[in-house]
């Protein structure tokens, strides 16, 4: 086999040598395709595996940790929650609409493959600066794509984040998360149970789309590549997925299926290899039986990433019944092979074995690299000159920066109330849905602070986890578990590798302290184009619950006259990275002071107090404090005709970032009870002001209420058009 062909398949010559030595023969082109798909970063985590192993993945509520299609946690009774986040970064840059749509489709399949009915989606999307026409095109396409798929299949979108920053200009990020509800005694795994079980193909016909998508996702881009790669992007059909979902869930509820695996990245190849590896069995598949949309070679069938397809194992006696149910849903169904006992992956085509490989070499012998990494340099302390910064200017810069503005333009393109169980829609501290037919609710949020992580990957990651944690706490949702999506540039650069290693370490520390294990995740590396690496962006999705939906906190002001109290510890203005960045005080990454060490014990202590006060119904409304400080939290809490007046020694402190930061609204009659409770528990608080009608006042200075509110709500749409 010639070198060029090997390199084109994304394998190094060393990696190829390992395979050839193991097999003691040359490979068929189909086999090379299989290794290309299975040994790339996207499928085998060869760079990150060593570090991911260190993450806490278990506790008393984890039913399924990483390694399955999705993680599952126990929320009491017979209820389990399956969830996962996944990236579709590169496809969404090449073709924003279909790239992001199929990202949503893929993550939903991961959920219902396990027998769970999807009940919510979230996302985390990042783009370059809006001044570029390209960014506008990408933003429109991505939001349209996410909306189109989720709206059509009918799963509510309940939240997410959307950030604009220059390093994402040629490498936007699209991470999609899905949450599903499963009955604990009806979970399905990818592991087949019996030798001789039939391998069946369920779903859309196979076409040419996405061939080599998985290896594309691990390539470094150059700008003029995008046209060449376009045929590699999958095209989604949410209607087909809706039928597939209903069909599969019906089969599962009737117990007609043994195991199931989504044909995601690297299609039939990865799904069958996963199945064989999990069950410690072999598979024999006849590619001639695969339903095709157009004539394809064996090689193309193996690597096609056509969407909306499932591979399942069934007992032969259920064959007719399964066919009948899928016929009702108008879904293609074909028996294409069987589970064997020889631990080999065998694919036949035209009465010839085109692939015959031991499972071990593909999975267990997949390369694992211990790449070199550098620790970040120590930072010198620096004082910034705030003397020329005026309060009005800070507010004006905030209200003209997309990252702070109300993002209804995005959320309003998503259906967030379908299924009738939505309690909190996007744009609030966290999204919340009710578990159908119960009083239980699930809250979920996605977060990342790339600037913090670039300054100090370890501490920055702790802040990211703490921010998600606070988002849930502010709603009186008890945080339970995490899914992560590690988006980084090329790990071949030891600085980037250092960010990867240290942020995983920060994730580990924070997740362990909060007792929120990581139950699923995804890694997306090589996010750089034209030598511009993205900021480190390890996004996390955090899920929590409350057994009683009546105990949920509002994130919006309730009543005029109520007191406003700030909890937590302020990062001083010289140490608030986003304040420095967005007020143009720091111009290069080297100028920032090191992040203050985040005290996780304190974070937890304040959170416990917020939960208790919420249960006592002492908190009328609550929001966490993050980028934009207390001021932005107050703006987010503004509702109907309500405004606020605050008094603070240094008004610039209103814009500082926080650890363990919350703004809470309490009734006057509860003030003494609340403050003595906080003092007794050693939680710092500051009575900052009260809710007033149609006014915004800072230290007795009146601001134009309607101007600020209208700008906050409407500027996003003005700026992007």
């Amino acid at each position: 086999m010639n070198e060029e062909l090997i390199l084109q398949h994304g394998l190094t010559l060393d990696e190829f040598k390992i395979i050839k030595n193991y097999l003691s023969r040359d490979l068929t082109i189909e086999e090379l395709g299989i290794f290309s798909a299975m040994w790339n970063e996207h499928c085998c985590y060869k760079t990150s595996k060593k570090w991911l192993k260190k993450l806490p993945t278990e506790n008393e509520i984890v039913i399924q940790g990483p390694g399955e299609n999705a993680g599952i946690i126990d929320i009491q009774d017979n209820d389990g929650i399956a969830f996962k986040i996944e990236s579709h970064n590169h496809p969404s840059y090449i073709e924003p609409f279909n790239g992001s749509a199929t990202g949503v489709g893929g993550i939903l399949r991961d959920i219902f493959t396990m027998g769970a009915r999807p009940i919510a989606t979230l996302d985390s999307i990042r783009f370059g600066l809006i001044e570029s026409e390209k960014t506008k095109y990408l933003l429109n396409g991505v939001v349209h794509g996410i909306g189109h798929y989720g709206n059509c299949i009918g799963i509510p979108n309940i939240g997410g984040e959307c950030e604009f920053e220059s390093t994402y200009g040629y490498n936007n990020l699209v991470n999609a998360m899905a949450v599903g509800h499963v009955q604990k005694d009806k979970i399905f795994y990818s592991k087949p149970k019996s030798i001789g079980g039939l391998i069946v193909y369920i779903g859309s016909k196979t076409g040419k789309d996405g061939i080599h998508g998985a290896s594309m996702a691990s390539d470094v881009f150059s700008e003029d590549d995008e046209d060449d790669k376009r045929p590699s992007v999958q095209v989604g059909d949410p209607f087909m997925e809706k039928l597939l979902m209903e069909g599969c869930l019906e089969l599962m509820s009737l117990g007609l299926i043994e195991s199931m695996q989504d044909m995601g990245a690297a299609g039939i190849t990865s799904s069958s290899v996963e199945m064989a590896s999990k069950g410690n069995v072999g598979v024999l598949i006849n590619l001639d039986k695969v339903p095709l949309r157009q004539p394809l070679s064996a090689y193309e069938i193996l690597l096609s990433e056509s969407q909306e397809r499932m591979l399942a194992v069934i007992d032969e006696k259920n064959n007719l019944k399964v066919r009948e149910i899928l016929q009702k849903w108008q879904i293609d169904y074909e028996v294409i092979g069987e589970i064997t006992n020889n631990k080999r992956i065998v694919f036949e085509s035209n009465n010839k074995k085109v692939v015959d490989l031991p499972v071990d070499i593909i999975v267990d012998d997949a390369p694992e690299y211990d790449r070199e990494f550098y620790m970040p340099r120590k930072r010198k302390g620096k004082d910034f000159d705030f003397s020329r910064i005026k309060l009005e200017d800070i507010i004006n810069t905030l209200l003209s920066n997309l990252n702070y503005l109300d993002k209804s333009w995005v959320f309003n393109q998503y259906d967030s109330t379908v299924m009738g169980d939505t309690v909190k829609e996007p744009g609030q501290s966290s999204g919340i849905v009710k578990i159908h037919g119960t009083q239980k609710v699930i809250g979920a949020t996605t977060d990342c602070n790339p600037l913090y992580i670039r300054i100090n990957p370890y501490e920055g990651m702790k802040y990211t986890v703490a921010e998600s944690y606070r988002n849930l706490i502010a709603c009186n949702i008890n945080p339970l578990a995490i899914t992560n999506n590690l988006n980084f540039a090329s790990p071949l650069d030891p600085n980037i590798m250092g960010e990867l290693v240290l942020s995983i370490d920060g994730l580990k520390t924070a997740a362990a302290k909060f007792n929120t294990p990581i139950v699923s995740g995804n890694v997306s590396l090589y996010n750089q184009t034209n030598e511009i690496p993205i900021k480190p962006t390890p996004v996390i999705g955090m899920v929590g619950s409350n057994q009683d939906l009546k105990k949920i906190n509002s994130n919006k002001f309730c009543n005029i006259g109520n007191k406003i109290i700030v909890l937590g510890k302020k990062l001083e203005k010289n140490f608030s990275p986003y304040l420095l960045q967005d007020q143009n005080l720091a111009s290069s990454i080297n100028e920032y002071n090191d992040l203050e060490v985040l005290d996780l014990d304190y974070e937890k202590k304040v959170a416990d107090c917020v939960l208790k006060m919420s249960d006592f119904k002492h908190i009328m409304s609550c929001n966490d404090i993050s980028r934009g400080g207390v001021f932005l939290s107050l703006l987010k809490m503004q509702y109907k005709d309500m405004g606020f007046k605050v008094n603070i020694p240094d008004p610039i402190d209103l814009f500082c970032e926080y650890s363990a930061g919350y703004v809470i609204e309490i009734r006057n009659e509860d003030l003494n009870k609340v403050t003595s409770f906080l003092s007794k528990n050693g939680v710092g608080y500051f009575e900052i002001g009260e809710i007033i009608r149609e006014n915004i006042e800072i230290n007795s200075k009146k601001f134009d209420y309607f101007d600020i509110i209208n700008n906050y709500h409407n500027n996003f749409e003005k700026i992007i058009n």
Binding site: H144, W329, T417
Partner: protein, 226 residues
């Protein structure tokens, strides 16, 4: 009195369960779930055509569902003078069948619209009896093709026959719009001439329970039962 009802499910319907729960909770009576390939409907007082993307909205929203096997019986049910209610995609299907006039075209901003909106009743009918004049109901919309369109003659006859059931209006939020999707005369829902068939774009079945942001959606079913 027992008020029986049924919800039709087409491939791609995604508000069928929501409609089912809405009816069960508010009518406290039998609600049948009917698959589109069934030949006949049970005897019921009300049939709902639910929201969603029936047949993927391929060809045109509602066009393929309007040719389903069950539709013959749906037409018969309506011709007998019993209630038929299309919500969102269901409204689109009713215009495709021809039971309601006009058509639903793409929203004026050419984008999907998923948000709370406010509607008020225009002309009285059995679906809105319990709603006060000028009462603004808060009910979510979620549609891409909800922009009601008809020619001038049809509009005139819709008015003369008092067929306009609901129109969009401004709500209590300072930034709420009067006509969210560009519909002619802000029409949100219409009936047939006999006023036993209602089609509307907003989703009352997402605004009735105590945890929903609004319970205004109750009023429609309460009007029918009272």
């Amino acid at each position: 009195m027992s008020f029986k009802s049924a919800v039709i499910t087409f491939p791609g319907s995604n508000c069928d369960r929501d409609a089912l729960c809405y009816l069960q909770d508010l009518t406290k009576s039998v609600v049948y779930s009917i698959w589109h390939e069934e030949a006949s409907l049970p005897q019921v007082d009300l049939v709902i055509l639910p929201g969603g993307f029936s047949f993927g909205d391929y060809l045109r929203s509602g066009a393929m569902a309007s040719k389903s096997k069950i539709i013959n019986d749906v037409i018969k049910h309506a011709n007998d003078g019993r209630y038929l209610f299309g919500i969102c995609n269901g409204f689109q299907i009713l215009t495709e069948i021809g039971l309601l006039e006009g058509a639903l075209i793409q929203n004026k901003n050419l984008k999907f619209l998923g948000k709370n909106c406010f509607i008020k009743k225009k002309f009285k009918n059995n679906f809105n009896l319990s709603i006060k004049e000028d009462q603004a109901l808060q009910i979510p919309v979620a549609h891409n093709e909800g922009n009601f369109y008809c020619d001038n003659e049809t509009l005139k006859s819709l008015k003369n026959n008092e067929q306009i059931a609901f129109e969009y209006c401004k709500g209590e939020f300072s930034n709420s719009e009067e006509n969210i999707n560009g519909s002619i005369e802000a029409i949100a829902g219409i009936t047939n001439k006999k006023k036993n068939i209602l089609g509307m774009m907003p989703h009352p079945e997402r605004a009735y329970s105590d945890f929903h942001q609004s319970q205004d959606g109750k009023l429609i079913i309460e009007s029918l039962i009272s």
